[in-house]
Symmetry: C2
Subunit: 753 residues, 2 copies
């Protein structure tokens, strides 16, 4: 093999140049890195340097024959590539150079290129016809460190719950008949309550720690046990207990909160009706006040007015019933009333009828039921009266005069539940990703005809692209939900604002979970279809998360209306018109036209820059909001009623809601990254941020191209960068899924072990 | 109310102009329609005509104040809009005009506009503040006629199976323990076999009708009963029986085919192994020929080499086992051998081990299992020897000399199965769409504050957009699968070509089903989550369709490789290189640059024109194929091994496979439409074709914009047209889902009744 007379100092550069030119992603900044290294390498002769620099001219790239010669030179050296070396390409190159020059070659300049270009063995090992000592996973990062970065707050609770859930009572198993599954979940619920986990969010006086945040943090771990357990837990302690805590006053707390936290009193949250799910304000159940002996009559008036899908309905002794409160013949709007359902022998009380909702797609360990009330009397003291009460004279009293505002204040208690639902969905996605990725790191299929061993699934580009961006997104959403709960629990912001934020995030994150778990199921092929591998249950259990605690389509419109009314105006449609006038003039000024140089800027530094990501997200939100407002105004000016005008732009509003959630997630994530002191990990976090952001931009590339924000070249470059970043994160992917901190004992899927 | 002095002849035009201008979709051809009507209306004065024509100038549209005045004029007339009138807007307009002019107004010119612009009550009824007598569904089309258009071939069998499935044995129910579900499905299978349904595809001599097409046609209906029944049926009669029929010779037919068709002999198709699913050629089970007493030894060599997910494994007496055939120490490649599994008492035979695969996400009525063979001896006669046999001297013989070609010929028998899987998936999607749409035509939620009744879900634009395009696509795919089966069954084309076609179609259609059923579940909210409403089972049962009978990702690559090799070259990677050289020169010539006038042509006539749809699809396929070929060539020229070069463009190849399937579907669909003699129905079919095609183009709009095929304006116009077409089909949507012809008795979902 002749080496085209390359000198022994130039020779170690050959594998580097081969790797660089076999790909098409060399950006200006990357060329600079190589140029600098070559210029500063004192071992090179002037001729060598000239040759090397000539190979960096993108306009006159090395000829294919030359590149092919490099490939043969490398392959025929017989040198083995060892991926576990600290600088594998440097070490490999030196050995190749030594082979041809018959002298030891040392050149530590090379690692500059290797480090700064982020060249990893999985980028190039397949380019050479050489033996490779493979590594399934790099050791650059430590999963424990990632876990501690992302799960820093309430660390004590996290470690305790991780340990506690190793109790055999939480072991996974198949329980097909619903009665069996429900029995098991109820036992698990009680075990948690006994250890004080149920009461976490309640005040200390009632056995809790007064920490809604800690409650939300541990909620995630219950999903790893069983979706039904998480939901049963959420209904009992979060929804039922939460309604007593947030809508009730001290008399209710004293009477019920401790028992509820201990699961001595089981309760349900009876809001949804067969005829009214999304439109809570339209529910038909009535609570009519009778002054004579100061009681309330709870009644189901019509055929479809019964409560439905009420979790914990079969086990509960009491329900927090949402009903239209009628006082002196006047409807004061929706209020919650505590209604006993069953006696000590668990017989339903007079006037109460409960029916099992039967089998569902998933969550069959949760006892959902329908409830009818036939003129059921309860004392007026059972009215959860924090925001509205009936005084001794039988007059309705409320500190919030506006009935609309009162309604939304009461519904505000659902915000915590929405965050938990999103957390639960995300936990499901994390678990499915862990299983699919661990499987792909073991499973091999197909090979080059030369090799004996087949290729790992994880080394297929299509497999990387389907799973790795989702891991990045899962980390983004993890930090975002933590912040949302922090903001909500500590009342750090205007209530309406956090409601808008959570409405959007809940929709986007639960949809992300549905997509991700589906992708994981398919990525595991037939194995993913077996119940024992857990993805099936995660898929079925989380499926309803896009519907309950607010249907996603409705929530995105809620978020959009929040954006349109600039978080200030009231949410009824009439209130909008005034705001819109203001809005459309205000926004248009701020929208700069996009410079063509910007819309075609494809440099890596630019594409990976958080500023670009935030700018792109923000541009989308502003432009969409502006155009929605303009369209609505246009219709209204032509005499179309405002309700109908909003309906005409409904699909547009969904896009506004989504854009809003995208901005929020990326912004909060980068805030989080900026706070991390550990530089190497900060780099990893930035890579994930870039992958997430570019994936989102890519998803909406049609819109960006239509608006001229992206030019063709940039749009294509973003696609290539998404693929490249996925490949760059490939060596760390096992560490990243371990970083979720899912207790090994709960990860029972045989394909993941 | 003053009427701005509009004459009584001009007055009836007002509602028309209000409807036209309250929307933004007026195209040049539509303006022509109105102009023509106005010009030909002899009742108008010259002044009227001038005013009306001035209102058609898109550059100087009527002022908002004027439009608003029209709206008030209409609303204050107090006239009720009756949707069931033949020409509701004409009738309404005349009444409004009569109210203000105090004289009877008749103007039958108006209906020209109403008909030619396709203006329907659901476009405009909400624009006026008037009382509306609503229609849930229009009566323009007849569901029976649609059914007969789409289900014309094998009509006798269709009607018979629809009737037969009303037998109580096919009634839907919840069977949670798998043993119960399997027992039920086995009984149903036998009931079908008793009536001759199982043998349909076999020759008459064995109890059949020799019609694979009829078999495929009725397969769809089994999905409406239960996914497990369809799969069990497919395994027994299609895969096991099919392998005997297609890979065996007369001795096998005589011995087994009749019994198989009658379900007297239950059999399974043992191809997939734990370690080898997609890579069938790499399976490890061996069938070693021993010449001494002419037998074959079937053996499972290693840990992951057992058969897995084998449907019918627990019930079968015999298996069609795929194994590497070793004759005289030489591996002759994969062949199928009939291996008895159990004796008459259903005890497994010596050397055979079968294990239940346990619970799965869905299809729990199918008994999937794992099978191990420990040196199991069978006579050499059990080799299914149509394509390869062992002669009396112990020499291997095959008419197909090339082992590669032989392998693909044997696998070709899977093509029929793939068509059936796609048909099954599509049937699942149809059933879910029917349920979701019937629910949306009853379910109401939210309203304008003025109205008492809430709005129908089906009248929300977002709901129309999520469901209606999928109905259009379902009809497109229905015709396409019928043609694929016709081509395959009658050997109308080169075998390799139909394999490529079916590979792509199976992937695209099963993914469509997964997306559609998910969308339907969410569109039904909590109701969609209940098992009784059927969507849950459809979702879980069809989920694996994207994986089995060929993983979709693998199949799309297979399709892409078929495209690249122009259906002629062999499918091993070495064979490609030569073809690629040819390909890249050939294709580039044919790709014309896109004229800017074309890339911004937004006229309705153009956007709805099948020629545009086909051109767009074809352009995408050609350009993607060309660029994939160029990239692969580029890598190979740089010395990258061809296997790795293909891997580098893997995600690109998936796009080629998808583009190929899109072209095929649209082309075949329009061929079908062209054959329909009934003009009004042809129009409906063309509307569905346009909606399907524009949805596909919209889905890939990023790519079209990047390539300059679409300009921004056209891209946006396509989005608007997708929304508009959905609204246009809204009145016919109930008729369209009824047109699927799903037997009412099988449509047991309470929300659909």
């Amino acid at each position: 093999m002749k080496t085209l007379n390359y000198s022994h100092t130039l020779l170690p550069y050959i594998p580097f140049f081969y790797v660089i030119w076999s790909d098409d992603l060399l950006s200006a900044s990357e060329i600079e890195v190589v140029k600098k290294t070559v210029s500063e390498d004192d071992g090179l002769t002037a001729t060598d340097r000239k040759i090397l620099l000539s190979w960096l001219d993108k306009k006159h790239p090395p000829k294919n024959e030359e590149i092919k010669h490099w490939q043969q030179l490398i392959s025929k050296s017989g040198v083995t590539l060892i991926e576990s070396e600290t600088y594998p390409l440097e070490a490999f190159s030196q050995k190749v150079a030594a082979f041809y020059s018959h002298t030891e070659v040392k050149n530590s300049n090379l690692r500059n290129i290797e480090i700064n270009l982020g060249i990893q063995p999985n980028h190039y090992s397949y380019l050479f016809h050489v033996d490779v000592v493979h590594q399934v996973s790099a050791t650059t990062y430590d999963a424990k460190e990632i876990d501690s970065i992302f799960n820093h707050a309430h660390r004590g609770e996290i470690e305790n719950i991780r340990t506690f859930l190793q109790d055999p009572i939480f072991e996974w198993g198949v329980h097909r008949p619903k009665e069996q599954a429900r029995k098991r979940v109820l036992e698990q619920l009680k075990a948690l309550a006994n250890e004080g986990w149920g009461a976490l969010a309640y005040p200390k006086a009632y056995g809790g720690k007064g920490s809604l945040e800690a409650y939300a943090v541990i909620f995630e771990y219950l999903m790893f046990v069983d979706g039904s357990l998480a939901i049963k837990f959420g209904v009992q302690f979060g929804l039922f207990g939460g309604s007593v805590q947030s809508l009730g006053t001290q008399k209710h707390h004293d009477a019920y909160l401790k028992q509820t936290g201990e699961a001595q009193l089981l309760g349900c949250f009876a809001m949804t009706e067969t005829g009214h799910g999304s439109n809570v304000r339209g529910i038909k159940t009535t609570a009519t006040y009778v002054h004579q002996d100061r009681h309330l009559v709870i009644h189901t008036p019509g055929k479809n007015d019964n409560k439905e899908y009420i979790g914990n309905a079969m086990d509960s002794k009491m329900a927090s019933v949402f009903a239209q409160l009628i006082v002196n013949g006047k409807n004061q709007g929706v209020h919650a009333v505590l209604v006993p359902l069953r006696d000590e022998k668990h017989q339903t009380l007079p006037g109460i009828r409960v029916e099992d909702n039967g089998y569902k797609l998933g969550l069959n360990g949760v006892d959902n039921g329908k409830i009818w009330f036939n003129q059921v009397q309860v004392p007026v003291a059972n009215l959860l009266d924090k925001y509205g009460s009936i005084d001794a004279n039988g007059h309705y009293q409320s500190a919030i005069k506006n009935p609309n505002k009162r309604f939304f204040t009461m519904l505000g208690t659902l915000v915590g539940g929405r965050i938990c639902v999103a957390k639960g969905a995300l936990a499901g996605a994390k678990m499915a990703l862990t299983i699919a990725i661990k499987h792909a790191l073991k499973r091999r299929q197909f090979n080059d005809s030369i090799k004996i061993q087949e290729d790992l699934l994880m080394d297929y580009p299509s497999h990387q692209l389907r799973l790795i961006p989702k891991v990045a997104t899962s980390y983004v959403y993890h930090t975002v939900l933590q912040r949302a709960m922090e903001v909500y629990a500590n009342g750090q912001t205007d209530k309406r604002k956090i409601e808008t934020q959570v409405a959007g995030l809940k929709a986007v994150i639960t949809w992300f979970a549905t997509d991700t778990i589906q992708e994981c199921r398919e990525a595991c092929g037939g194995k993913g279809y077996l119940l024992e591998n857990r993805i099936a249950d995660l898929k079925n259990d989380t499926d309803i998360f896009t519907t309950f605690e607010g249907d996603n389509t409705v929530l995105l419109q809620l978020a959009a209306k929040g954006v349109l009314s600039d978080f200030k105006s009231e949410l009824n449609s009439d209130g909008f018109v005034g705001v819109l006038k203001l809005l459309s003039s205000r926004l248009t000024d701020k929208l700069a036209t996009i410079n063509p140089a910007y819309s075609n800027k494809v440099d890596k530094d630019h594409l990976y820059n958080p500023k670009f990501h935030l700018h792109a997200m923000d541009f989308r939100l502003r432009r969409l909001t502006d155009s929605a407002a303009m369209r609505i105004r246009g219709y209204i000016k032509k005499g179309i009623p405002s309700y109908q005008a909003f309906l005409k732009v409904q699909t547009h509003l969904l896009q506004v809601g989504r854009a809003y959630s995208d901005v929020l997630a990326v912004k909060w994530y980068y805030d989080f990254v900026a706070q991390q002191p550990n530089e190497p990990y900060q780099k990893l976090l930035r890579q994930m941020g870039a992958l997430h952001s570019l994936s989102i931009i890519r998803e909406h590339a049609t819109w960006y191209l239509e608006e001229g924000y992206l030019g063709s070249t940039k749009s294509k470059a973003i696609r290539q960068r998404v693929e490249r970043l996925s490949t760059e994160l490939r060596p760390h992917i096992n560490t990243l899924v371990d970083g979720y901190g899912i207790p090994e004992k709960l990860l029972t899927a045989p394909i993941a072990s």
